[in-house]
Symmetry: C2
């Protein structure tokens, strides 16, 4: 046993897993990819489609992304997390694209660390950083299936464009 293992570390390499998919997200899989024998904590955040937005009924959201830039932006977020919380072990960030019905997950983040504070703080930071920097567009569909408000989050700026919302 190495001295690193003796003080509670682990030789298992840390992982950053970033994915975009048009399939439903498996929360069990996101969780499992962050679990580590060297960690006592996994914190997760899941963003889901709400049935209301600013008092209007939503039937589903649609997400579009500029995929090459999403991956580089989220890799930068992972590096930031590792510099702020060096005890973080694995980071898994999965975002769904395309249509996401009410109550289904659009984004799932799981982060492990030996103790709970680091994992919880890092997940809070991660979802805020993702919303601020990842080029992922969100379009609301209202009850009559018209396009609603389109929101673009990119480079820390949020711009809103109204397009046919009743």
């Amino acid at each position: 046993m190495s001295s690193r293992e003796e003080v509670g570390g682990s030789m298992e390499p840390s992982r950053d897993l970033i994915g975009l998919s048009s399939e439903p997200l498996s929360i069990e899989r996101v969780y499992s990819s962050a679990v580590s024998p060297s960690c006592g904590a996994v914190a997760l955040f899941i963003g889901t489609t709400r049935e209301h937005f600013e008092g209007r009924r939503v039937i589903r959201l649609e997400y579009e992304a500029y995929e090459p830039m999403v991956k580089s932006e989220l890799s930068a977020v992972c590096r930031d997390i590792r510099s702020r919380w060096p005890m973080v072990k694995h980071i898994c960030i999965q975002h769904r694209l395309g249509l996401v019905p009410v109550a289904e997950a659009s984004v799932a983040i799981a982060i492990s660390s030996p103790h709970r504070c680091e994992a919880q703080e890092a997940v809070g930071y991660c979802i805020n950083a993702l919303k601020a920097s990842a080029p992922i567009w969100k379009k609301f569909m209202n009850l009559k299936n018209r396009s609603g408000r389109k929101i673009l989050n990119v480079a820390g700026l949020e711009t809103a464009e109204v397009a046919g919302l009743e």
Copy 2:
């Protein structure tokens, strides 16, 4: 549609789900029981068995509980959460009892809310309150399968008892 629904609320009643089980915890099930169409956020915390504790190798943990008191203590934690974060929708707290091997989950908490801050803050509060108040005992087993340190968390006091740890 009621005026409550129109402003983004939901008529679905809030749920507090508290469970103790000797079976492995299903993270997907804990997550699913907290999801709500009225919410855009589910925060989770999962506590897992670490392979090391204070520099010593752990092969598994064993949990024992005084079950009737656990349920009443955790119900009180749920009430506290609802008074601090009234927007919280569902709360699910599941604790495994008996042997929990390395990297498996001993506790899983999922909390939903319309927006992410409340769910994340409430989960952080919940795991701290559970550790401080629930009468759940944790016993470490080291490599030679001897009983290790036994820790009792009850009524905010943590007492440690050394029993055969090498």
